[in-house]
C-alpha cells in the first residue's frame, strides 16, 4: 500500500468496508485501507500507523477483532472503534481490556462514523 493510511477499516463485510472507505475519501479526503482478516490488520497497522482503526469483531481467519486489537495496541497508539452486531456482555468485557477503544453496535449510522473521524482525525468540521 502506497502513502500514508489515515483510517484502517477491518471488516469482513466487504460492501460495508468499501462504503465507509469511499465515504471518508469523498467527504474528508482521507486515505483508507481495508481488510477482512485480523492478521492483515496487525500488519497494516504496524506499517502504516493509521490515525484511527474501525474494527469488526467477527473476522475472516483465525484471529478475531479483539485479539487483533490487543496486538495492534502494542504497536500503535491509534484509537480502535469496535463495531459489531454481537453486543453481548462477554464481548463488552473483553473490549474493556483494550486501552483507548470505543464500541459501536451495528448497524452503524454514517453520522456516528463521521463523529468518530472528526474526534480522532484532524479533519474539518
Amino acid at each position: 500500500m502506497d502513502g500514508k493510511t489515515d483510517v484502517l477499516i477491518v471488516e469482513d463485510e466487504a460492501l460495508f468496508a468499501v462504503m465507509i472507505s469511499e465515504f471518508l475519501k469523498d467527504e474528508y479526503k482521507l486515505s483508507c485501507a481495508y481488510t477482512a482478516s485480523g492478521e492483515d490488520a496487525v500488519r497494516i497497522a504496524e506499517s502504516q500507523q493509521p490515525n484511527l482503526v474501525f474494527m469488526d469483531i467477527r473476522l475472516a481467519g483465525r484471529m478475531d477483532g479483539i485479539e487483533a486489537a490487543e496486538i495492534i495496541r502494542k504497536k500503535s497508539k491509534a484509537p480502535i472503534i469496535f463495531m459489531t452486531a454481537y453486543g453481548g456482555e462477554a464481548t463488552r468485557e473483553r473490549i474493556k481490556s483494550v486501552h483507548k477503544s470505543e464500541f459501536l453496535v451495528k448497524p452503524v449510522d454514517m453520522q456516528i462514523i463521521q463523529n468518530m473521524v472528526r474526534k480522532y482525525c484532524a479533519v474539518n468540521q
Binding site: 466487504a14 460492501l15 472507505s21 469511499e22 477482512a36 481467519g61
Partner: protein
C-alpha cells in the same frame, strides 16, 4: 516318553502303551510304526493280562505263551500300570526270541549227535536243529516206537533242572539200542517257563563232561537264564518308570485342573457379575432349519426371510438361550435364571423379526461379529429399545452352537434421538420460514425502491435505485433458493445465476430484446457464505455492462461462464462485447464504488482474486475457493 535304560530295541519287536480305555498313548515297532496285526496281538495281550489280574493273585509282568510272529518265536510281556490303586493302562512289549536263540542255542551241540531243544511250558518247540520240529509239540515227538524219550520230556516239566537217561533206537547209524542222557534247565519268565534241553548219547555226554564244549553249553544255559532275568529286571524298571511318569502326569493333571478350575471360576464370576448384560445362545438348531430352507431356495436369505413371518418365528423358536448373567435378569425383570431362560424373548415383534433376519443374513455371510438394534418386552410389560453386540465363540462358526450376546438398553438414547429429530425438524421448518420471510421482506424493499424509482424522473436517481434493487434482489434470491433447497445451507448456482441474470436484464427496460446473454454455468452448489457475495458480484458486473458497454448500440452480448477448476477453485467470467474501458483505465484506481465493491467482495470476502481485461469489450474474471466457509471455521 519311555526310557530304555540302555536296553537295545533289537530284542523288541514292539512296545505299545494302552490307556485303560484301550487307546494307544505310545507305540514303537522296530524301524516302523506298529502294524495293525501287532496292535491287535498287543491289545489281546493287554486284555489277557487284565483277566489274569482279576482272576488270580497276580503280580506283573504278565507273560504270554511263546508265539510265532513272521515264523520267528516271540513272547509278549504286559505291565499293567497302577497309580494309587487305580489301573492307568498297560505297556505291552513283544520280544523276539530269535536273537536269543541265534546267540546261544543254535550253536549248541554236544559230541557228535548231541541235540539242543528249546520248548515252552505248553510243549511247543521253539528251536530244534531240524526246522520241521519247530512249532510242533514235543509231547508228540517220537524218535521211534521203542524209545522212552517222553519220560525225559515229562520229567523236564516236573523239575526245573536236572538230567535224565532214556533209551533210543538209532536208525541212522548202528540200528542198535543206545542210551542218551538229557540235561535241561528252566528259564522262568514270570509265570511262564522256557525249557532248554540238551540230549546226547551217554558216552558222548560223559566224554564231553570234561569237554569245554559242554561247559560252554552249560554256560549258555546260565547265560540264557541271566538274560531272562535281565529282561524281567528291565521290565520292572520300565514298569517303575511308567508309574513315576503316570504319577507325574497325574500331578500335572491335578495342578492344571486346579488352575483351570480357578480360571473357570474367575471367568464365571466375570460373566455373572458383569455390569453389562451378557447372554449365551445356541443357534445350532436354528441354523439346521435355515440350511434346510436354503437348499430349496435360490433367493438371498435376507430376501427370502423378509415378509416370511411364520418361518422367522419358527427360527426364533429354535434359538436356545443357554445362560444369562445377573444384569440380564435385572434388565428384563426376572429373579430366577431358569424362569428367564424359559420365557426369553417375551415378544415376537416385527422389530425383533427384522433384527433376526439381519443377524441370520450376516452369519450366513460369515460375519461372526455383529451389531443390531431391536425392541424387547420386559417382564413388567414395558418395551425397551436394545442394542445387541453378538459374536460367535471361536470354534463354533460352523454350527453356530455358542454365541455370546451383550444387550444394552438404549431406550433413553432412542427417546432423546427421537426428540432431537423432532426438534431438528422444527428448527428446519423455522429456518425455512425465516429464509422465506427474509426473502419476502427484501422483495418488499425492492418493490418500494422500484416504486420510488418510477415516481422519480431523475435518471441518475432511477439508476441508483435500480442498482440498489438489483443488489437486494440478488440477496433475496439466495434466500429463496435456500428455503427451496433440501439441506437449507447450500444453493445451486446454475439455477440461481439463470434467475438472477434474467431479473437484472429485465430491469433495464430500454435494452429489452437487444442484449443477448450466453450462459455456460456448471452445476455447482455453494454455501450461503459464498452465495451472497457471489450474487452481489454478478449483479454488479452485469449491471455495469448494461450501463456502460453498449451506449448507442442496437445490440450486444454478455457471456457468463461459471466453471469448477481442478483444485476446487470456482471461476466466474462475465464478458461483454461492448466498447470496453477508456484508454489507460485502471479499475482499481479509477473504478467507481460498484467496481471497488466487486474487488473487495472477491478479494476480501471470498478471499479470491479479481482480474480484468479490456480487449474486445470488458472481461471480468473472479476466482475463489468453494471451501471458504469450512476454512474460516
Amino acid at each position: 516318553m519311555f526310557a530304555h535304560n540302555g536296553e537295545s530295541f533289537q530284542d523288541y519287536i514292539s512296545e505299545i502303551y494302552f490307556d485303560r480305555g484301550g487307546n494307544i498313548l505310545f507305540s514303537y515297532q522296530a524301524k516302523k510304526t506298529a502294524k495293525p496285526d501287532i496292535i491287535r496281538i498287543s491289545r489281546q495281550l493287554s486284555a489277557d493280562a487284565q483277566r489274569s489280574i482279576q482272576s488270580e493273585d497276580f503280580k506283573p509282568p504278565c507273560f504270554s505263551p511263546i508265539f510265532f510272529y513272521n515264523d520267528f518265536p516271540a513272547i509278549g510281556m504286559t505291565y499293567p500300570v497302577y497309580l494309587n490303586g487305580i489301573h492307568q493302562g498297560d505297556l505291552v512289549s513283544i520280544i523276539s526270541l530269535n536273537r536269543l536263540i541265534s546267540r546261544y542255542v543254535e550253536s549248541m551241540k554236544s559230541g557228535k549227535t548231541g541235540q539242543a531243544y528249546l520248548y515252552d511250558d505248553s510243549g511247543t518247540i521253539i528251536f530244534h536243529h531240524r526246522p520241521s520240529f519247530i512249532r510242533t509239540n514235543i509231547f508228540n515227538l517220537k524218535i521211534d516206537k521203542h524209545d522212552n524219550f517222553q519220560d525225559f520230556v515229562r520229567e523236564s516239566f516236573t523239575n526245573l533242572s536236572g538230567k535224565s537217561s532214556y533209551r533210543y533206537f538209532d536208525n541212522f547209524e548202528s540200528k542198535s539200542v543206545k542210551r542218551k542222557l538229557a540235561v535241561w534247565n528252566t528259564i522262568k519268565t514270570g509265570d511262564r517257563r522256557l525249557i532248554l534241553a540238551l540230549a546226547a548219547p551217554d558216552a558222548e555226554i560223559e566224554e564231553a563232561l570234561s569237554d569245554l564244549r559242554l561247559q560252554r553249553t552249560l554256560l549258555s544255559i546260565l547265560l540264557i537264564s541271566m538274560f531272562a532275568a535281565f529282561i524281567i529286571t528291565a521290565s520292572y524298571n520300565r514298569h517303575k518308570l511308567l508309574v513315576e511318569n503316570a504319577r507325574a502326569l497325574e500331578n500335572l493333571v491335578n495342578k492344571k485342573s486346579e488352575e483351570l478350575s480357578a480360571k473357570e471360576m474367575r471367568y464365571r464370576t466375570i460373566f455373572e457379575e458383569s455390569p453389562i448384560s451378557l447372554l449365551e445362545f445356541d443357534l445350532s438348531q436354528a441354523k439346521e432349519f435355515v440350511d434346510k430352507f436354503e437348499r430349496h431356495n435360490t433367493l438371498p436369505i435376507e430376501t427370502f426371510l423378509t415378509g416370511n413371518s411364520p418361518i422367522v418365528r419358527e427360527i426364533l423358536s429354535r434359538i436356545v438361550i443357554v445362560d444369562a448373567n445377573k444384569t440380564s435378569l435385572q434388565m428384563f425383570g426376572f429373579e430366577s435364571k431358569r424362569d428367564f431362560i424359559e420365557k426369553f424373548p417375551l415378544n415376537e415383534s416385527s422389530e425383533l423379526e427384522s433384527s433376526l433376519i439381519i443377524g441370520i443374513s450376516r452369519l450366513k455371510q460369515n460375519l461372526f461379529t455383529t451389531e443390531l438394534e431391536t425392541v424387547f418386552n420386559l417382564k413388567s410389560g414395558k418395551t425397551i429399545f436394545a442394542r445387541l453386540f453378538g459374536t460367535i465363540v471361536p470354534g463354533h462358526e460352523k454350527k453356530w452352537s455358542q454365541i455370546l450376546v451383550s444387550i444394552t438398553d438404549i431406550t433413553t438414547i432412542k427417546n432423546s434421538e427421537e426428540r432431537l429429530l423432532i426438534s431438528l425438524s422444527e428448527k428446519e421448518t423455522l429456518l425455512r420460514e425465516l429464509y422465506h420471510r427474509t426473502k419476502n421482506n427484501m422483495q418488499v424493499i425492492c418493490s418500494m425502491l422500484a416504486l420510488q424509482s418510477a415516481t422519480n424522473c431523475n435518471e441518475d436517481l432511477r439508476s441508483a435505485f435500480r442498482q440498489m434493487e438489483n443488489k437486494i434482489h440478488s440477496m433475496a434470491l439466495v434466500h429463496q433458493k435456500l428455503y427451496q433447497s433440501q439441506n437449507l445451507s447450500s444453493i445451486n448456482l446454475r439455477d440461481y445465476v439463470h434467475d438472477l441474470v434474467h431479473h437484472i436484464i429485465s430491469s433495464y427496460e430500454i435494452y429489452t430484446g437487444r442484449i443477448k446473454t450466453n450462459l455456460d454455468i456448471e452445476n455447482i452448489s455453494v454455501l450461503l457464505d459464498i452465495a451472497i457475495p457471489f450474487g452481489l458480484i454478478i449483479s454488479e458486473l452485469i449491471s455495469n455492462s448494461m450501463k456502460y458497454a453498449f451506449p448507442g448500440k442496437d445490440s450486444g452480448e454478455i457471456d457468463i461462464t461459471l466453471r469448477r477448476e481442478d483444485d476446487d477453485t470456482i471461476t466466474l467470467i462475465v464478458a461483454d462485447n461492448g466498447i470496453g474501458p477508456p484508454p489507460q483505465f485502471d479499475v482499481r484506481e479509477n473504478g467507481r464504488m460498484g467496481m471497488k465493491s466487486v474487488i473487495a467482495l472477491a478479494e476480501l470476502q471470498l478471499q479470491g482474486s479479481y482480474s480484468v481485461s479490456g480487449i474486445n469489450g470488458f472481461v471480468n474474471r473472479v476466482s475463489f475457493k468453494d471451501r471458504l466457509y469450512k476454512e474460516r471455521i
